[in-house]
Every structure is written in structure tokens, then in C-alpha cells.
Point group: C2
Chain length 568, copies 2
């Protein structure tokens, strides 16, 4: 927001002085801030008004920022690693790739969970590794694991650092391997196989840019896309997508990270291996699949081969429909997921509370679209938004759009054109920036999500939403954003003011338990980390956890690989 | 063939007196015969002429059937099971579900591999179980496994008995559990989730019939299909599809068995469990996937939940194209697999040798289609057939067909209409019957298949085909029949005359080795059984085999579950 537009906005009503100064180098703030240091996105007036209203806040609540974590991280926390071991690590990766100062260790032991951020804002230094290494090759990682195995030193893997489930904390210290510094190169591109092989630490935008510009950069005939766009796209790695089982905003069409991986190469305490790159095979249980989602508990993913798709943005078609009730929108979404005509890429259904916030965020109520809604009697508090995008070959994309229109119409949906969808699309990677702006004034914003079968959708939605809404002055916006013939996911965004991390933890964990008790998955695409780990045994049952423990024990008999991860 | 038509055919040329008498009850022949006892399919004159010509055989070679296995299996092979244990098993499943006579034990220890059939024709009784049990419930199976675990008795699982990879032999005797007798019931149908849950022993046709007639049989609104049609469809079970990782003739669209399973319930020596039925989840490595393809080595699959699809045969569109060279057909097939318009369901590309045989089998060379080919200069020896079917929603199916036509035309394919495809479709489950007819005259027909990346397609095809053709008087027909963006499978059918099983084994195993050496998968959809097991370590490498061994050891510390299966 420029100074001028800020002034104009102030006239319309009070606007907080959002903190937009670049954080001091080596400050706590520089660690928890989302994304680029000099990029900011503040809540618009519409969204802010909703927050004030629902949370019972006044202008005064947005005047003095709290716990902004501006202090520089002092080098106060001595590493527990012995000088002898440090020298050994230096001899493997080189002195310039070894860090034992507190800031580096804190930075790479912290993810983007609300709890991580809370801790950093309180300037707590807890559960950090003893040494940060930036390995340069598979051989480096083999040497590191050999040493750590021998000396029983814990090993953690840092991809892009976007874990929101406490996936990066190091309760027993040890080593953190940072993959995106050097392990980020292309290994092989095969246009005929429609695959690309990369080192695990390649960042999302680099990967997508390579593929989009394949004719220039990879001597390809056509342009390609990886089709994987998690909200953390800009700050996540290809390996991280697979290790923590991510899904992207277009995954309903392209598939989740799980589906995109053709083969993987691992270094484990028990040796290294690379799986075959057959598109399918009937040679017993697939090791390639057993390793997916192992969150660094079995070994280190060093490189992987991924499916790629034709890049043809010109065929994408956007759609937005408004339904009188949530139930109508959900029915339409299910029917769209079961057309046998293929799937939309982006596809989202918002509940009434999220719909109303969206309308205000995008200033749609006052537009022509708002007038159409008023005329049709689509009322705030019950209306529900369905939007998305079709992709793929042109005729395929057009045909699917036609089906979607038909289904939405049958379910009493009003066509709002592609405009709101395109509006959402613009902010799709930058919305997380808003969290920092709100957190500065003690407003917490967090998300929890679960897979759900169609059969259990309404039950899970009601139970979890009711539980969240029991907490006074709390916004709960819910959507489904990943669709399958057999079900979808539910994504709960809750916003409330809380000063105490203990109170927040209690509330947040109670929501997770409520999801689990009502037959939602512990995670649809956020992974497990240490946040869900304590519930894994209850969720999967002892028999299944025993299988994971057996595999863990095989790869990692001394429990050095991300100890405590996955509840193992 | 009726007596009259047989006479007419004899006039046209010599036709063997194919054996069409129903085998004696309890004869060796009744075990190895493919499919229903009173159904036969004999090679047509066209196909027979090819065989005679290529194998250098004369009419005399088809006059005296050899090794027809007509003897009744005498109850000569005493079970090694103690009387005490037999009584214990009887107390679990009931006396009427326990069999120790030689015939039953032989019958359920033999699959449909050429080697199995050779042995039965030679009236050998080898590697059979000691007792056959027909369990009635999960609880029965739990009791059986508890007993076998305690007493170290091997356990084998028999689904439909169609294994072609020696998956059913019992080198250490023990128990065979027959799943299709009682464990064949529907557990749950969920139209809203688009799933059906069944016991593992339900046979393919029962399963498909339930779904096709869902409105009458399951009180559903719509009709459904399971979308899984292996050539063994009529003689295979739903559980067997998953335990041995089958693919069906329409799997390019519907997915392989691996893709169709939402959740599974297992009984293992280490306890029982059921996986969740979420369509996707990010809760660590998926136990549901780890169990797929375990071929009875980890435990017994007792029930499973499968994806289902709308049944709309009226939208299917058939296509057939003839290309001047194999290379053109393969290029077209790859481009079709990579359209981003979805996949055909049935989809096959035949090499020149298979194409020529098909033309003769379907009598197409003399039809108008043959004349079209002659006019276009599509020559025997190089022309290659591509055929298939599109399905799904009507517009989706039509659009895909349009794309296919365009791609085939660009690759110099001539449209032969949907007729040859429909002709193939009619015989698609009955072709295996022909094997018995030919075997009666010592003509062996066997198949081996492998997954392959597009990049390696030509290399694998050439190397394996050349190896097979080095054997004198041998037909080698090859096709690809399962397609992915990243690759396909190669399916080699070889026909030759051999009297000696040792010679056959040596030849067949040399082909498997040739596939493996040239970077084909050991199996695309036939599973591993004991035929590929010895090559598993070389194929996957020690590190990956160690993972399978670790899981095996966890579930089955005394190695009672299908010992030797998967090479474990």
C-alpha cells in the first residue's frame, strides 16, 4: 500500500499502522516473518472490519504492536556438539557449510506453525539443533549419516522451512541438514518420459520456472508444468512436498505430491538406494510409496523423479458460483468430483462464514456481483461460494466447464463469472503474509485440516466448527479445497485474540482431537510433524503404528532420524 | 464349433480333432483346464495356419494329443499334517470345510502358469499343501493364523487360482485357505462415497454384476462398474487383484488394482487391522499401500473397499488404426497417453508379428478392411495395429476419440473403423481357452510382461524379441496394453513346440532375465509368485529387499505366510 492510498484508506476508517519495516538481520522477527523480508500484505478494510466485529476489538487494539520479536538473536545458546565432532562435520561439508551460532541453529529449527511463531515472538530459544550443515552432495549426506549413526547424533532435514506442524524442532538437538542451499540442481529431464529428476532441495519457483521455460532452459519441444502449487509454493522444496505429503492448489487435477513422484533416491543410516522409475509395476509392495511421507524419519530424500504436464495456461477456464446454502454447494462439489469427465485443477467450496469474509475481502458485495446476489436472495450467513478452474487440453477443459455449469445450475447455484476466482488467484501465495500483520496485534490466525469421506462431511464439519465457535469471539472460516471421487478435505481457519501460548496450544490441540474423534484424518496435506505425532497411535491404531515402527527400526536402529517425528 | 461347421471347415483344410470332452471329475485335466469345464475355444483356421507355418508343423502333428492329463488324481499323497492338527483346524472351520485328499490339495496348490499345467499334464504331484481350508469369517482366519503361528505351519491364500507366476505352490506344505467359497460377501455399499466394500474372495463377475445392477441389487440411484477386467476376470477375486497387483484391460482409464483400493482389512500373525478409507491423507507412509502386492506374505487380506465408477457402456467408442510401421504406432500411442485429455480405457498397440496374426485370426485380410490396407500399402511384416475404446462421460469420451483420431492421422495411421476392436472385445476373456487346445498337441503358449518407460521402449522390445526369435520355430507376438504418461508395458506372447519341461523352463527363465537385464520391470501386472522371486534381489537391489524383509519379519517372524513368496 502506498502512502497515498494508505491516507485515502484512513479517511474511510481507522487503519492500523501495519509494521512494514524490514526486520533487522539476525532478529527473531526475520525468522518468523513469512516469505521475502521486504514483502508485506496487510488485511484490507473489509477483512479488518470482520475481525474487529467478530473478535470484539476496537481501534485501540490495533495501535500498539505486541511481541514483535525485534531483538537480535544473541549468540547465547552454546551448542552441545563437541569440538571434535564439529571438526568431523567440517571435514565433510567444508567449514563454510557448518554453522553453530545460535541464530542459524534457531532459524533452521523453526517452521511456520503458529506455535513456532509464538515462541519466536516471545524470543524463546528451545529445541534447536546443535549444528547446521549445508551438504553439497549425496556423498556428503552419506558421510554425515554414517558419522551420526556411529555417534548416535540426531539428524533433521530442512527443505524450505514451511512446516506448519512443528516438523523442524529438534528436541534432542543434533544436526540440521539444509537441503535448499546446494542440493537444488536438476539431475535429468526426459521429455519423452514426461519426467524431470531434481535434487530434493530445489525450491518450488525454480522448479516451475525450469519447466515453464523448458524450450529455452531444457532444450525441450514443449513447455511444461509440475502442477504442484501449495500455498507455501515459494518457500518449499520439491523434496519437502513428497517427504511431508503436500497437496497443491491445483492437485484435484494434477494429483497430490504422493501421486506425482515416479521414483526417489534415499540415503539412510542403513545405506542408500534409488527406486525404479516405472510408471507402474507389480513387483510387490512399492518401496517408492513406503518412503513417501516419511518426514525424514527413515532417511534423507536426496533426489526424485517427478511427473510433468503440458503447460498450457491459455486453456484454463475460471468459474465462480454462489449457492443459497452450504449444503447445495457441497452437493454440487461432490457431483462435479464424480462426473467421469476429469477434475478441475483449482476447486474450492467455502462455508457461509468464509463466503461472507471473502465477499468483504474482495469488496464484492458492493459490486454488480453483490447486486446480482441481492436480487437472487443469496443471503449473508447462508450463501456459499464454489469456485475453481479447469485446465488441460482445450476441449477437455471446455467440456468440464460445461459440466460444472450444468451441475451448479441444477443445485441452485448462481453464476458469478470467473472474476472472483481470478481475484483469489492473484493473492493465492501472498495471503499468508497477512498472518504476521495480525499477529503483531495479538490476533492469532491458524489453520487445521483433515481428509474426510463424502459420507462423513457434514458430521465432521458441524462437530469441528461448533467446537471452534464455542470459543468466544472466534472467527471460523471453513472450506474444502481438494477433491476426489471418494471425498474431500475440510480446512478450518480460526482467528481469535489470545495472549497466552498455553491457552492457544490447549485450544488448538482440542480442535485436532475433535477432528480425530469425528473420523477426520489427522492431516490431509500438512503432514504430521510433532504437532499431530502424539495422536498418531490413536488415529492409526497400534497394529499400523507397529508397522511404521518396524520400518523405522530397520532404517534407523538408533533412532537418530528426526527422532519423535511421525510419533515414532 | 458344431459338427456341421466342423465338417465345412475340414473341407477348407485340415482341422485337428480338438478335445472338447468334459474332463473326468477329479482328473488332472479338470484342474489345469482354463475356465468352465464345458467351455472350449479352439484356434481358428487362420491362427492354426500361422502356427503350423511358423513352428514348422504338419497336419500329422495335430493328430495325436499328448499328455492330456486324463487320469483321475488318486488319493496317493498322504498329508504331512498330524491328525491332532487336522482336528484343531476342523474345530475352527468345521469338518465340511477341511480337505486332506490329494485332489483337493493339488487343485488349490496349482495356478495357471505354463509350468503348473506342464506338471499336471505329466501327472506330477509336487509342492502341494497338506490341508485345504475354506474359512467362513475373519474370526476363522484369525484362529487359523494363531494356530499356524504357534505351530509354525505355512499358510497360503487361494483367491481365484489364476496366478501365472507360480503364486500358489506350497513347497513346504502347510495350509491353503480358499477365499472364494465363503469369504465372498458384500460388506458395505456407499453410493455417496463411490465405494463398495467386499470380502476378499468375491469373484470378479459377481462383483461387476452387483455394481452393474446396483439399482436393483444395492438400492442405488445409478449403475456402477468396478472398471477392473483382467483377462482372468471370470476366474479371479477382488482380493487377488490387489494382493498380486493386477491390471485390467480397461486400466489405462480406471487405474490398476493398486489405484482402485481405498482401504483394506488384514489378518496377520501379528494381529488384525483395517486401514482408514480417506481418499488421501498425509499421516505418514500409507499402510494401505504397503500391504498392496504383498501376495499373502504379510497376512491374509479379508476385506477391502474399492472405488467404483458410473456404468455407462452407451458412451464407449471403439477405434482401430493401422500404421505402416511399429514405430508410428508407438509414437501415436505415446502421444495419446500424453494428451492431457484423459486416457482411453482399453488401449493396445500390436507389433507387426501380432498384427499379422490378428488379421488372420479375425479374417480381416480378406475383408473390405484388408482391401483398404492393400490400397494404402500397409504391408504384412511391418504394419502395426493400434486399437482401443474411450469411456466415461459422453462428451469426455467423444472428445478423447477426436484427439485420438487426430494423433493417429498425424502419425500416418489409417482408420479401420471400430469393427476390429469390437471383434477383439468379444473374445477378450475366452482367448486363454485356446491354450489348452494347443497344449494338447505339444504346442506351448506362454506370456511374459514388463513395465517400461517410453525412453526404453524400443530397446526393451528389440532385445527381448530378438532373444525369443533366436529360438527356432517360435512365434513372438508383442503388444503394449497399459498406458501411462510416463510409459507403458510390453507383453510378449511366445508360441513354440517343446516336449520337455526342463527345456521350456530354461527358455522361459532366460526371457525373464533378458527383460530384467534390459531395464524392464520383472512384472507389470502378473505379480511375482515363485517364478520371478529368485530375481527380486537383483531387480530391486539389496537395500530395497531388506525393507521388504523387515516388514515381513515384523508381520510374520516365523515365516509361515506364503514362505518363499516375493523372494522373502
Amino acid at each position: 500500500m502506498t502512502k497515498d492510498s494508505l491516507k485515502a484508506a484512513h479517511k474511510a476508517g481507522f487503519i492500523p499502522e501495519w509494521m512494514e519495516s524490514v526486520s533487522d538481520r539476525q532478529s527473531f522477527r526475520s525468522i518468523f516473518k513469512w516469505g521475502a523480508g521486504d514483502e508485506f500484505k496487510n488485511p484490507g478494510q473489509g477483512f479488518l472490519n470482520v475481525i474487529k466485529e467478530e473478535l470484539g476489538l476496537a481501534d485501540d487494539d490495533f495501535k500498539i504492536p505486541v511481541r514483535i520479536g525485534s531483538s537480535v538473536v544473541e549468540n547465547s545458546c552454546k551448542t552441545a556438539m563437541s569440538a571434535e565432532d564439529i571438526i568431523l562435520f567440517e571435514s565433510i561439508v567444508g567449514r563454510e557449510n557448518c554453522f553453530i551460532d545460535t541464530y542459524e541453529r534457531l532459524k533452521y529449527s523453526t517452521g511456520k506453525a503458529m506455535e513456532d511463531i509464538f515462541n519466536l515472538r516471545e524470543e524463546k530459544i528451545e529445541n534447536i539443533s546443535d549444528i547446521v550443515l549445508h551438504p553439497g552432495s549425496k556423498e556428503d549426506i552419506q558421510d554425515i549419516l554414517r558419522l551420526c549413526h556411529e555417534k548416535r547424533i540426531p539428524v533433521h532435514v530442512y527443505g524450505g522451512g514451511s512446516s506448519v506442524t512443528l516438523g523442524l524442532t529438534c528436541p534432542r538437538g543434533g544436526v540440521t541438514l539444509v537441503m535448499n542451499t546446494h542440493m537444488n540442481k536438476i539431475v535429468k529431464f526426459s521429455e519423452i518420459n514426461r519426467t524431470i529428476s531434481v535434487e530434493a532441495g530445489m525450491m518450488g519457483p525454480v522448479y516451475e520456472d525450469l519447466l515453464n521455460n523448458a524450450p529455452e532452459k531444457l532444450e525441450a519441444v514443449n513447455k511444461y508444468t509440475g502442477g504442484h502449487f501449495p500455498q507455501s509454493f515459494e518457500y518449499s522444496t520439491v523434496g519437502g512436498w513428497v517427504a511431508a505429503l503436500g497437496s497443491g492448489q491445483a492437485s484435484s487435477y494434477y494429483g497430490d505430491a504422493y501421486d506425482l513422484v515416479v521414483s526417489q533416491e534415499y540415503v539412510t543410516p542403513k545405506g542408500s538406494f534409488k527406486t525404479h522409475d516405472f510408471p507402474a509395476t507389480a513387483t510387490g509392495p512399492k518401496i517408492n510409496d513406503i518412503m513417501k511421507g516419511s518426514e525424514g524419519c527413515f532417511g534423507v530424500l536426496v533426489s526424485l523423479t517427478m511427473k510433468i504436464f503440458q503447460y498450457q495456461p491459455e486453456t484454463s477456464r475460471q468459474f465462480t458460483f454462489m449457492f443459497p446454502e452450504f449444503e447445495n454447494a457441497v452437493n454440487a462439489a461432490r457431483q462435479i468430483s464424480q462426473t467421469d469427465s476429469g477434475m478441475p485443477s483449482i476447486f474450492r467450496v467455502s462455508d457461509p462464514e468464509e463466503t461472507d469474509v471473502a465477499m468483504k475481502m474482495y469488496n464484492l458485495d458492493k459490486s454488480i456481483i453483490g447486486r446480482v446476489m441481492a436480487l437472487k436472495g443469496l443471503k449473508s450467513g447462508s450463501r456459499s461460494l464454489l469456485m475453481g478452474q479447469t485446465e488441460g487440453d482445450k476441449a477437455f477443459s471446455n467440456n468440464l466447464l460445461k459440466q460444472i455449469k450444468k451441475i451448479c445450475s441444477t443445485n441452485y447455484g448462481s453464476n458469478l463469472s470467473g472474476y472472483p476466482m481470478r481475484k483469489w488467484h492473484k493473492g493465492r501465495f501472498s495471503d499468508p503474509y497477512m498472518r504476521d500483520a495480525l499477529n503483531d496485534f495479538g490476533v492469532l490466525i491458524d489453520t487445521l485440516e483433515a481428509s474426510v469421506t463424502w459420507e462423513n462431511f457434514t458430521n465432521l464439519y458441524n462437530k469441528v466448527r461448533n467446537h471452534i465457535k464455542k470459543h468466544p469471539n472466534t472467527i471460523c472460516m471453513t472450506h474444502a479445497s481438494h477433491f476426489y471421487d471418494q471425498g474431500t478435505n475440510l480446512y478450518f481457519i480460526f482467528i481469535t485474540k489470545m495472549g497466552d501460548i498455553g491457552e492457544f496450544r490447549t485450544f488448538q490441540r482440542s480442535i485436532i482431537r475433535k477432528i480425530e474423534e469425528n473420523c477426520g484424518s489427522l492431516s490431509h496435506h500438512h503432514g504430521i510433524g510433532r504437532m499431530m505425532a502424539p495422536l498418531m497411535e490413536k488415529h492409526l491404531g497400534k497394529a499400523q503404528m507397529d508397522v511404521l515402527r518396524a520400518i523405522k527400526k530397520h532404517f534407523d536402529p538408533y533412532n537418530i532420524m528426526n527422532p519423535g517425528g511421525l510419533g515414532l
